[in-house]
């Protein structure tokens, strides 16, 4: 009886394992089916690759042709303005110079910009000169110059609308030694005593005699710069009056004839 049980068990195990092996192994039919399937797929892919290669080759030729056409067009564009690549570079360098000058001026305070306002005119001249060059008609240069002009105009407008007048409250002679000469000499004012006439002329409403200023007076401090014609004339007039006033005192009075 036991023998029959064992035989049954072994047979069942053999049956199961044989079924597994049988299921895993490929039959010739399956192989042929897969061979056919993959062969068809390969042929299809080969054909697709061949088509793609032809398209890529065509695009490569087209790309090279377009590159040549772009190059030719750019050369024609330069020929229109009678320039070559070197002249174009030189012109770009001129525009760089203008940009650099504008950058420098843009960094200045309004006070400092006022003192160097002549440089704004120089930049305007540089821009005007650049505009006379045919190279300025090339769009990239044209737009750049227009941008530079806008920046320059903005600087001028800022200068025009800025309140450039500082004020200074006069201290006492005993403590501050304040007179127009000493005030102009202060580093926070002009750092230059010889510019004192600017303060005088800027405050004619309250300074009649530049030798007399009063503690507590609020003086306007005009923007630093060279003396104007009017200021120089006022100084000359001041000194001649001063000399005239000092002359009779310097000369001893002639004794009266009896």
């Amino acid at each position: 009886m036991k023998f029959v049980h064992r035989l049954l068990l072994i047979s069942a195990l053999l049956l199961v394992s044989a079924a597994g092996i049988f299921a895993q192994e490929m039959t010739k039919e399956d192989w042929q089916k897969q061979i056919n399937e993959y062969t068809a797929k390969r042929n299809d892919l080969r054909s697709k690759l061949s088509t793609l290669q032809a398209e890529v080759d065509k695009l490569k030729t087209e790309d090279a042709d377009k590159a040549a056409a772009v190059k030719k067009c750019n050369e024609e564009l330069l020929a229109l303005v009678g320039a070559n690549a070197a002249a174009e570079q030189a012109f770009a360098a001129r525009l760089d110079q203008i940009d650099s000058k504008l950058n420098e001026l843009s960094r200045l305070s309004n006070q400092d910009l006022w003192a160097r306002k002549g440089e704004l005119d120089n930049v305007q001249k540089m821009i005007d000169d650049a505009r006379k060059d045919k190279l300025s008609t090339l769009p990239k240069n044209y737009d750049r110059i227009r941008e530079q002009q806008n920046r320059l105009d903005a600087l001028r407008n800022a200068l025009a609308s800025a309140d450039l007048t500082k004020t200074y409250t006069v201290g006492t002679w005993a403590k501050d030694r304040d007179c127009l000469w000493n005030i102009a000499k202060k580093p926070s004012i002009y750092d230059n005593a010889f510019l004192w006439p600017k303060i005088w002329q800027g405050n004619r409403d309250q300074i009649k005699n530049p030798d007399v200023i009063k503690p507590g007076q609020k003086l306007k401090v005009p923007v630093k710069g060279d003396l104007t014609k009017e200021e120089k004339a006022a100084v000359r007039s001041y000194w001649s009056k001063k000399q005239a006033a000092a002359a009779p005192a310097a000369k001893p009075a002639a004794p009266e004839k009896k």
């Binding site: 047979s11 049956l15 010739k28 690759l49 793609l52 790309d63 769009p139």
Partner: protein, 86 residues
């Protein structure tokens, strides 16, 4: 009865063991042929993918140059007009 069942099971097991041996199977060479074919298909798939990328890049490059060319032609007309006005 039990003996009959046992006999059937044993016969079934013997058939299961012997039956696959009678079925036709591909030999090693044929199996290698199939593997090579699969590898070729995988390789072709990769090549096609690379080629498609190359094609797309080239198409973009051509489109870019077309735009540059159109822009250049436009600039030529503009410059001609500006020079006349100088």
């Amino acid at each position: 009865m039990k003996k009959t069942i046992a006999g059937l099971v044993v016969a079934g097991a013997l058939i299961a063991i012997l039956a696959p041996g009678c079925t036709s199977r591909p030999n090693e060479e044929e199996l290698k042929q199939l593997e090579d074919l699969k590898a070729e298909v995988t390789s072709l798939d990769r090549e096609i993918s690379a080629k498609e990328s190359e094609k797309s890049a080239l198409a973009r490059a051509v489109a870019d140059k077309n735009a540059k060319l159109a822009q250049c032609e436009k600039e030529k007309a503009l410059v001609t007009e500006r020079i006349k006005g100088m």
